[in-house]
Symmetry: C2
Subunit: 207 residues, 2 copies
């Protein structure tokens, strides 16, 4: 779980310290996107003008809240997985036996390290879907925040894809590579919807 | 200046509380993008393999650091500006005189509230330019983080544009509107470069 002061965390992000890195930053963007969906629902539920949409938007808010907490957890998982890859690279490689053991450990840790960005991509895709279900049914005064939620989730999705693709390139086993490629492509399908949500809202708020 | 625990801040973001909202979330994404540019520079400077690029990348790191701190400051400014708009809307409107005074106060506060997202857009555009100057000259092992930096900055830029466009729509004076429109369009010009940086890096890391 990511925690601590925001400014301190960003200071560590900017430093040469091995973690946090881009994976944790992507998870934070997904968490912020989820938080904005949740906020829009909280500013819609209980308002007379949107009473007829209450049953539709309430579960969206509950899911967004779960996704926000999950993304924050994944930011921490990403840091731990990256540390495990670094440890594997640090194993001894003096003998042939050591070299083989090290290569196997690096391969396993690299495959494991693809999991947090894959899960962040999954969360980000869900945030995009939730955001897409709000326009026309949520508080009109915070429609711009739905657009920002979709934009941040899109960036979290794209950033996670970059990280999964880096891990793919480092893997030797073609079956593991193909499996990961298929998974990330499935999540990336939500990007088109995300871009539509952002474009429609920009066209709408500028009216 | 944005501060406090990350999880608590995201909890407030998700709540019905008037601030923080999308503007502060966009500023946070810009700060994370700047932090990643800074990190990549810190993992390049002092490394033998990149010694010839040290004079090129060092100032990029220093500028990214400044932009990170500036974005964090702007997140706080955005919250304050939004609160001022809410206060203006809360002014009495019983008499014609009060109505006129309230309308003028709302107009002035709305124009002021466009400033933080405009500045975030400016910061995000700068982060994109800095990120674009790294590939080929920065540590190859963290090229993916340059792509994530550009992606987060792009989202910060797009999100800020959404917020400026909302403010524009709420303004009565055409000259103020045109001026703000020109400014945000100038910053948005960096979006093309940002998309190029992300696409090139994705193509490169997937090799």
């Amino acid at each position: 779980m990511l925690h601590g002061d925001i400014g301190d965390w960003l200071e560590r992000l900017g430093s040469a310290a091995p973690t946090p890195g881009g994976g944790a930053a992507a998870a934070l963007a997904a968490a912020a996107g989820a938080g904005l969906v949740e906020m829009v629902v909280n500013l819609t539920v209980g308002k007379k003008a949107y009473a007829e949409h209450e049953d539709h938007v309430r579960p969206i808010g509950a899911q967004a809240r779960e996704l926000r907490l999950r993304a924050l957890e994944l930011a921490g998982d990403d840091e731990a997985a990256f540390s495990a890859v670094m440890s594997a690279y640090g194993l001894p490689k003096a003998t042939d036996g050591e070299k083989a053991a090290r290569a196997a450990a690096v391969e396993a840790a690299t495959a494991d390290a693809a999991q947090p960005p894959l899960r962040v991509a999954e969360v980000a895709a869900r945030v995009i879907e939730l955001a897409s279900a709000l326009p026309g049914r949520s508080n009109r005064n915070v429609l711009s925040d739905v657009g920002i939620a979709a934009s941040l989730a899109l960036s979290a999705l794209e950033s996670s894809a970059i990280n999964v693709e880096v891990n793919l390139a480092g893997l030797r086993d073609p079956a593991t590579r193909d499996g990961l490629r298929k998974e990330i492509d499935a999540h990336l399908a939500a990007a088109t919807l995300g871009r539509e949500v952002v474009a429609n809202i920009r066209a709408g708020v500028a009216r």
